[in-house]
């Protein structure tokens, strides 16, 4: 019979609350250090998934974020049960994340300018989009519209939440309706796609930004492998589901490493936010007062009241058609 010593052996040389193994390079990383590098591996620059609150902390001017509608809570409209009842899954996710649903929205400042933002938390049921998620995205958009401040959505989501059935599917229409109005009002909308952005989230607001940014090597795709192989019996080839793939095919503007993300967004907003009346900017008259084409000049001459004329009117027409 083996003698039992009163000391327990060190079962784990790397306690998980202190150390994280990088799935990219296998290096053991000290969590405190990892937090300082914005949870990006200093060796291989693997971007770890981060919580919504950590993301907000990294993006906004320190202490400027005011959360709104934190009390919106999902319900179980279908009485859904798979291996576990949906309310149990919700409860577990709520306890794990301290959130009521998969997004946090509110208003914070970036570079001193207020921004309406909605940030996904992948740790809440895979960041899936249910009714509350859609509602928060819509409210963030409506606040941006009402206050004419930019809209920022940071997605990290597997797509629509199956447990709420077609209600989740309808969130595509709900969010796109609002986003379409935001864009029509020429309120800037920047979409950031973090790992992963797939399914119904990718196929709605995430892909629809004025500018679409993505984190390096983030999974960005429409259909998951299980759906692909189940429907058409083929899986996507290697490399068909990344931010880099989407950049090469024209659906992402820029891939931005996390340490540069905040600055990049501030720079972009500097371009997209129209200067208020007090500020002076050389008028864009040189561009708009000139008829845009011979045809426009002609229609302008023939039909004096027509929209085809230049003179500032042209800019408006252009703004509207580009949304179509």
């Amino acid at each position: 019979m083996p003698v039992r010593l009163p000391f327990r052996p060190r079962r784990d040389a790397y306690p998980p609350d202190l150390w994280t193994k990088c799935p990219g390079c296998g290096e053991m990383l000290f969590n405190k250090q990892l937090d300082k590098t914005l949870r990006v591996c200093p060796h291989c620059s693997h971007h770890f998934r981060i919580s919504a609150r950590m993301r907000i902390e990294q993006l906004v001017d320190s202490g400027s974020f005011v959360e709104r509608d934190a009390d919106l809570t999902p319900v179980d409209p279908l009485g859904f049960m798979d291996l576990k009842p949906y309310p149990d899954r919700l409860m577990a996710a709520q306890l794990q994340t301290g959130l009521r649903d998969s997004t946090v929205w509110g208003i914070g400042t970036m570079g001193g300018k207020p921004v309406s933002m909605c940030v996904f938390d992948f740790f809440f049921m895979g960041g899936s989009m249910g009714s509350v998620t859609g509602e928060k995205v819509a409210r963030a958009g409506e606040a941006a519209l009402a206050e004419r401040i930019p809209l920022l959505i940071v997605s990290s989501s597997g797509g629509a939440r199956m447990q709420e059935g077609t209600y989740s599917l309808m969130q595509l229409a709900k969010t796109m309706g609002v986003v379409e109005r935001v864009k029509a009002a020429r309120v800037p909308f920047i979409s950031v796609m973090a790992d992963p952005t797939t399914g119904g989230t990718f196929a709605s607001f995430a892909v629809a930004g004025d500018v679409n940014l993505a984190e390096p090597k983030a999974t960005i795709r429409f259909a998951g492998d299980r759906v692909s192989s189940g429907t058409i019996g083929e899986e996507l080839p290697e490399g068909y589901n990344t931010a880099e793939f989407q950049l090469n095919h024209g659906f992402v503007d820029r891939i931005v490493p996390r340490p540069k993300l905040r600055d990049e967004i501030i720079t972009l907003l500097g371009f997209l936010i129209a200067p208020s009346n007090g500020q002076t900017e050389p008028p864009a008259a040189s561009l708009t007062s000139r008829p845009r084409s011979f045809l426009n000049a002609l229609t302008g001459a023939l039909i004096p009241d027509g929209n085809g004329n230049g003179n500032g009117n042209g800019e408006q027409t252009r703004g509207e058609t580009s949304n179509g």
Partner: protein
Amino acid sequence: MVDRLLSRVHGEPHPVDPVDAVWAHVQQARNLKRPHTLELIKFMADDFVELHGDRLCADDTAIVGGLARIGGRRVMVIGFQKGQDTEENIRRNFGLPHPEGYRKAMRLMDMAERYAMPLLTFVDVQGAFPGAASEERGIAEAIARSVAVMTRLRTPIVVVITGEGGSGGAIALAVGDVVAALENSIYSVISPEGCAAILWRSGEQSHMAAMAMKVTAGEQQELGIVDIVIPEPGEGAHTDPAETARRIKEVVMERFDVLGRLPLDDLVEARFKKFRDIGPYIVADRPAAPPPHPGITDRLRGLLSNMPSLPSMSGTRHDVPPGREEV
């Protein structure tokens, strides 16, 4: 499920197992012989001119559309087209559209708006084509934009779900002022097979998934997603396509009459609002779920380290259980 068990306990013979009934419904919705867009329009329209191509690179045969005259009214018709036999199915890519299909649809929607024609869409799709070709050309972008265009299109839109309303591929053409569905059709956020593969981790539970997601037209009407359920003749739409088309036509024409009387601004606003308000939630009065109780090491570390806590978010350090991600 519970009913089934209870009936066993009480010894009452249950006439039809509800799971089987739902699955029979799914099979009915997928019946190859069901009339699709072109078959229905043949019976409904006095005249129909099909238009092709997205004006960008191709013509998708899984989505068809064109100009129709129905009961004296000019209507833009867009719909999914599955094949009725293997040969046609191969030609139509088994009714799974590529981005070109949705881009063609958007082109026709735009045309409907400009020429003041109401829009009628027929939805019968398992989902958008989920393969490499589709991904390369931006299926997500095409779906997102098609949804966006429909939320603001300045003409009446009636949607009829005729078979499978599957996922993002379906909603891309299903944002309507009125959403009607044939009795035996289904509408779901993901195919039952896909749902079972992800949540049950086994494709064999698709019957259960179909039941859990409440996919049938009747259930969808109870949930408020579908406005009108159109009864099918006889044993189902495939047994009498002409009568099915007549019933659809009756409902659609009546709706167009009602919608046509609304000012366009009100119509678009009402459509936006209809979808803006879908999705139940509650506003909780209890405080937010507390952050997980910190372990002894966390508390010790908190005591020992003189790291300044961040002003408004000090409680959030424990949001992510460290080390548990990426497993």
